[in-house]
Symmetry: C2
Subunit: 162 residues, 2 copies
């Protein structure tokens, strides 16, 4: 059975960039302020070749940018900084954090909190309408447009009719 | 170099459940209303053994629940339905969708829209404070608590001081 082509699905396209555990964890570290190859390696304990390939892919996809730096008396090194596009993935990483804290709780208590730096208040990830008001998730609908694959639309119809 | 143990990180724990591309795509399909093994297989074109193992893992982790059904004159089959915990992953999937639509746009136009079913208005994924007001992402801070690993805290300090 052939797969329905996934080009039209933005979730699949995002996963083409992010779709493995290491990549998500590199992003987590970048959001926490890690920038250097050694910092990522120390944090993740991942093989050099794996880290190299994942960082290169993130640079290639415009999530990170590679910048050279040099400390006095040391050799030239590279830093990996989040681009604007990379920073926009914060909400995805925060969504995973929120879900983990809720459904896979860490016995001694959550190791990180998300706060509004202006108020110190806790911050959730959720749905917001164009006017900035919260929308309860059960009211959020996915509506297919004219570019939704016909094959998939039929499967959806069948699934909903069942 | 040993990895810093990731038990304390809810992002890593969530990725322990979700951490591969197939699992995210199964979730996407479940959110779109697909429930049957054959529907997932038809949608994803994935090997039977892979789909079986991913669905079992999602059931084991309480994201999906397996329910038997039987159509008249047909053999007994199973449906996979989202649990409450599974439905809470909608915001993560929607975050991936939002990012893909923005940064990896599909030339003919987005194939799905997220709308508030009450108003038909577009819905974004974002940060919300305890009072339900939107918080701009640049104001959201990750603050470590007392259960944050000491090793990692030191790496973070070094990274921020650099």
């Amino acid at each position: 059975m052939p797969a329905i082509p996934d080009d039209s699905c933005s979730i699949a396209r995002s996963l083409g960039v992010l779709g493995d555990r290491w990549t998500f964890l590199i992003l987590r570290d970048a959001i926490e302020g890690f920038t250097r190859f050694q910092e990522f390696q120390w944090s993740l304990g991942v093989a050099t070749s794996v880290l190299t390939s994942r960082l290169s892919a993130l640079v290639e996809h415009g999530v990170l940018t590679k910048v050279d730096y040099q400390e006095p008396g040391r050799r030239r090194r590279s830093e990996y900084l989040l681009t604007d596009a990379g920073r926009e993935l914060f909400v995805v990483i925060a969504g995973l954090q929120q879900w983990g804290d809720r459904h896979l709780p860490y016995e001694p208590g959550a190791s990180m909190r998300r706060v509004d730096e202006r108020t110190g208040e806790g911050v959730r990830v959720g749905f917001i309408d164009e006017g900035g008001a919260e929308v309860p998730p059960e009211r959020v609908q996915l509506r297919s447009t004219s570019t939704y694959p016909a094959q998939r639309l039929e499967a959806r119809r069948r699934a909903h009719a069942a």
